[in-house]
């Protein structure tokens, strides 16, 4: 490539003040605009959300214990997306998205199951019925999307906690790869609701999901 085809950016020409002002304005607008949007189903999910955000923390302090908790959460996500696609209020595009996300959650569960078995553990079966319960009251696509955002945010929070506690290098990387995928699910779901797709510089699932 010729030198003339390159663009040299000198250091220090980023206008940080204008970025900060823009950020404050945008975040305030987003906060005001979304206060009503996901309130109904969001409120119904709060107790379950709080319990599951600590799901991995309650797991035994071993890689196998964390994996078992993660598998159960992934199984719950698979069931959630399977139930969601049955909702008659979804557009064909959103149904395809939910189907894809459910398939990817199943891939996570399968990989984690292999990892747990390699450690000599027994994978758990079943799902968390309490977590899935609010989905039954979701009538519209927006409500389904809001439910999915809450669920994906829980998953991000759980893997964030796991990244602090897992010991094996390979499991740490797998956990972060899955956490990143759940973050990408959040992007698509937030966009479907007209929300800011990437509101958190540090995506750890600790911020309010309905932000």
């Amino acid at each position: 490539m010729r030198e003339s085809d390159r663009l040299i950016i000198e250091d220090g020409d980023t206008d940080t003040a204008s970025i900060a002002a823009y950020e404050a304005t945008r975040r305030d607008a987003v906060r005001r605009g979304l206060a009503a949007g996901g309130a109904v189903i969001g409120a119904a999910l709060v107790p379950a959300l709080l319990s599951v955000r600590d799901a991995f923390a309650a797991a035994p302090q071993s890689d196998a214990g964390i994996l078992a908790s993660a598998i159960r959460l992934e199984n719950t996500a698979v069931a959630a997306y399977a139930a969601a696609v049955q909702n008659g209020g979804l557009t064909p595009q959103f149904r395809r998205t939910a189907t894809l996300f459910g398939r990817q959650e199943a891939e996570h569960a399968a990989a984690l199951t292999v990892a747990l078995k390699s450690l000599g553990g027994t994978p758990p079966s079943g799902t968390d019925a309490k977590l899935l319960a609010p989905l039954k009251s979701a009538r519209t696509q927006n409500q389904v999307a809001q439910f999915a955002i809450e669920l994906e945010t829980m998953a991000v929070a759980a893997y964030y906690d796991a990244s602090r506690r897992l010991q094996q290098a390979r499991l740490l990387q797998t956990s972060a790869q899955i956490m990143s995928n759940e973050g990408q699910h959040l992007v698509v779901l937030r966009q479907a609701l007209g929300k800011d797709p990437v509101p958190n510089a540090y995506e750890n699932g600790k911020a309010k999901a309905s932000k």
Partner: protein, 190 residues
């Protein structure tokens, strides 16, 4: 079209990141520093030195992304410009946070280069391709670094940053008309 050739050529990409001071995933001296075999205090010092080296490589990547979004912003419009500004602000938060961590470990945070030698970008699409290339590299580098960090808190911080970078990738892929969530396991490999 010339930029697209650059973005698809692994040798050109490697040279670009090397020139930006970025020790990319896969075996730089900095990343290998954690492998020394010793014990006790010496081992802790080695681990801290390795953490500092890894974090400084990450700061170099963040500064490269900051320069790229700064360079590309004038070619963007509307919603994409807003998003690029937001991503720029988030990369700066990462660079600041990582710099604080380096300082707390007793090291000297890596500083931005005086200049970044980007390929010439002429269109909005080329800005998106450049950002997508850098964000992918960041995801791969953070995933490589994660298990090499000695501190659980640093590992958690890196996990939250790599997830944010993966989210940027998802937005950029969508803007480029590509599938936004192409794989169940994000790897940073395009």
């Amino acid at each position: 079209m010339e930029f697209e050739r650059f973005a698809l050529d692994p040798v050109s990409r490697r040279r670009f990141f090397h020139a930006a001071g970025v020790a990319t995933a896969g075996g730089s001296t900095a990343f290998l520093a954690a492998c020394g075999g010793s014990s006790g205090k010496a081992k802790n010092q080695t681990a801290t030195a390795a953490d500092i080296a890894i974090l400084n490589s990450a700061i170099d990547l963040e500064n490269t992304a900051i320069a790229a979004y700064t360079a590309g912003a004038p070619l963007l419009k509307g919603e994409l410009l807003k998003l690029a500004r937001e991503f720029l602000g988030q990369e700066k938060q990462h660079a600041d946070g990582l710099s604080t961590a380096v300082t707390q470990l007793g090291g000297h945070p890596s500083r931005p280069k005086t200049a970044y030698n980007f390929p010439r970008i002429r269109t909005q699409r080329e800005v998106l391709l450049l950002a997508n290339m850098i964000e992918h590299e960041a995801v791969a580098a953070y995933l490589d670094a994660l298990p090499k960090l000695s501190s659980p808190d640093l590992r958690a911080t890196v996990a939250s940053i790599v997830t944010n970078e993966a989210e940027h990738v998802s937005v950029l892929l969508g803007a480029l008309g590509r599938p936004q969530v192409p794989a169940a396991f994000v790897s940073g490999r395009a």
